[in-house]
């Protein structure tokens, strides 16, 4: 397993948001964590990136413990996290945002090649390369953030609600990009409220409820289960 999380506990002040969760991500896999608002999905990703206060459990990544490692060191180990709410650097140009995605890299040539690839993938970004990211539309910002993550040469991509607030056509485009990322050999841990879409592209899934895993298994099986359909797929 590339990522092996055991009995993870995360707190915000006095509130325990994640109450002992175990899951794993293997090489070349898309794994999704689905669940309603407040289920603890975002807290899990923040814990993996070193941003949240981990109270218990272990996070093994490539057989090394991530607990207590600083966020920027975790990025250097190869985990790229696209946070919720997009968080493009709205005060920087599109071009500068993409370069920040490659902040930890020193191979100028490789960065230039990847920049060209991202511009090829998202021609809209190329048109707007010199524009300040704050002037982009929501969909364009999402492309920028995904493009930025692709610049990092990461070995594991964490995506938090990439479909949030996007028009359906853009949601399809974002999910197509996620599948493309996996085909390029990068596993993805995807957190989504849009369980339908998430389960349709994922290999395996975990269903979360108030900080605990209630169901897990193959994504296609989960999508068929009555309780999942009732709770998250609006049926």
């Amino acid at each position: 397993m590339l990522l092996e999380v055991k009995d993870l506990r995360v707190s915000y002040g006095a509130i325990e948001a994640v109450k002992g969760i175990s899951f794993s991500v293997a090489q070349d896999e898309i794994v999704t964590l689905v669940g309603a608002n407040g289920a603890g999905k975002t807290s899990i990703l923040r814990a993996l990136s070193g941003l949240a206060d981990v109270r218990g459990g272990s996070i093994l990544y490539a057989d090394r413990e991530l607990r207590g490692v600083k966020p920027h060191e975790i990025v250097k180990r190869g985990i790229s996290h696209v946070p919720e709410g997009r968080l493009a650097f709205l005060n920087l140009s599109v071009h500068e945002n993409l370069l920040l995605g490659a902040y930890i890299r020193n191979d100028t040539k490789g960065v230039e090649d990847d920049l060209a690839k991202v511009y090829e993938l998202f021609p809209r970004l190329k048109e707007r390369a010199r524009q300040i990211a704050g002037t982009l539309s929501g969909g364009e910002q999402q492309m920028l953030v995904v493009g930025r993550a692709l610049m990092s040469e990461c070995k594991l991509l964490l995506l938090d609600e990439p479909s949030m607030g996007l028009a359906p056509i853009l949601v399809a485009e974002v999910f197509a990009t996620i599948e493309r990322v996996r085909r390029m050999g990068t596993p993805v841990l995807l957190v989504e409220q849009n369980a339908n879409m998430a389960l349709s592209i994922a290999d395996r899934g975990y269903v979360l409820e108030t900080g605990r895993v209630t169901l897990s298994g193959k994504a296609s099986d989960l999508a068929q289960m009555d309780e999942v359909r009732a709770a998250y797929l609006g049926e």
Binding site: S49, G50, L51, K70, P71, H72, V75, K76, S80, H81, V82, P83, L87, F89, L90, N91, L92, E96, L99, L100, G101, Y103, I104, R148, S152
Partner: protein, 294 residues
């Protein structure tokens, strides 16, 4: 006209110093949203560093200036590390009060250091004083030229770092959102240290240039100077680098013209301008309007 030009020269001479110091306020505010009250005192430490450095035989303007930039810069990094960083993520008021405490500490520590003490000292003549006729009766002197050239150089280097280097990009990213910046692999703590370092170096330089102009230094010189540079930063729009330059120049020019008009008015004039500007543009001349999150 000649009189006007002469006053303008005086105003710019003072204004570039305010701009240098204002830059530090605005950079630190930009990156951690803190009004660093101890910033003015770094100006004083810069002036004293140059004062002592110049006693070493053979040390001229440039080495003294560099020493006066380096010491406050290192000190400022230490202050951030020891006093502000432990309070990261705590209410902003706690950090603000700490900054006031650091300022009081820095103003009073030299008082008890035997070779510094509370007395005024006359600052060495690091630049040979010469005057050059400019237009009619208006003249410009070597110190004014030094001030303008040194400030322009330092400010351009600084703006260059922020705009065009990787560290500068990291600074702007951290200023926008610390967590998002950390997720890019940026060492947020280190970036904040660099910001304090650069800001304090400029403050130290400001102290030296001010002391060349008014060659009397004492341990409280940073109080007023810091306050006025802070006003300049707010006037220009705190968080905005061009705003700090504009605010500094405006502050210096207004102060000189007001003093020429009526000498009692000098100190107050900058504040009057500040109030007028904030009435119509609360974000300052070049600041961006922000919505305060509650």
């Amino acid at each position: 006209m000649e009189h006007f030009l002469q006053l303008l020269i005086f105003g710019v001479q003072l204004g570039v110093i305010y701009a240098l110091i204002a830059m530090g306020y605005t950079m630190v505010y930009g990156i951690i949203r803190l009004i660093n009250f101890a910033h003015g005192d770094l100006v004083m430490i810069g002036a004293f560093t140059a004062y002592f450095a110049a006693r070493v035989p053979g040390v001229g303007f440039v080495p003294a200036l560099l020493a006066a930039m380096l010491l406050p810069a290192v000190l400022s990094v230490l202050i951030e590390r020891l006093a502000y960083r432990p309070l990261r993520g705590r209410p902003r008021l706690s950090v603000l009060i700490t900054a006031i405490g650091v300022s009081i500490f820095l103003e009073n520590l030299p008082r008890v250091i035997p070779f510094i003490g509370p007395n005024y000292r006359s600052f060495p003549k690091l630049i040979e004083f010469r005057e050059f006729p400019l237009y009619g009766s208006a003249i410009v002197n070597s110190i004014q030229i030094t001030n303008v050239i040194a400030s322009a150089l330092l400010l351009s280097v600084m703006v260059g770092i922020v705009r065009f280097t990787k560290s500068g990009r990291a600074m702007r990213a951290v200023s926008f959102n610390k967590d998002a910046a950390a997720l890019m692999g940026i060492d947020v703590d280190r970036t904040i240290s660099i910001t304090f370092f650069i800001g304090a170096a400029l403050a130290g330089a400001g102290g030296v240039l001010y002391s060349l102009t008014y060659p009397m230094i004492d341990i409280l010189m940073g109080v007023w100077l810091g306050t006025k540079a802070f006003v300049a930063a707010v006037l220009g729009g705190i968080g905005s680098l061009p705003g700090a330059v504009l605010g500094g120049l405006l502050m210096g020019i207004v102060e000189v013209f007001a003093t020429a008009l009526y000498s009692e008015l000098g100190y107050g004039a900058g504040f009057i301008v500040l109030i007028l500007v904030l009435l119509f543009r609360p974000e300052g001349l070049m600041g961006k309007p922000t919505i305060e999150k509650v």
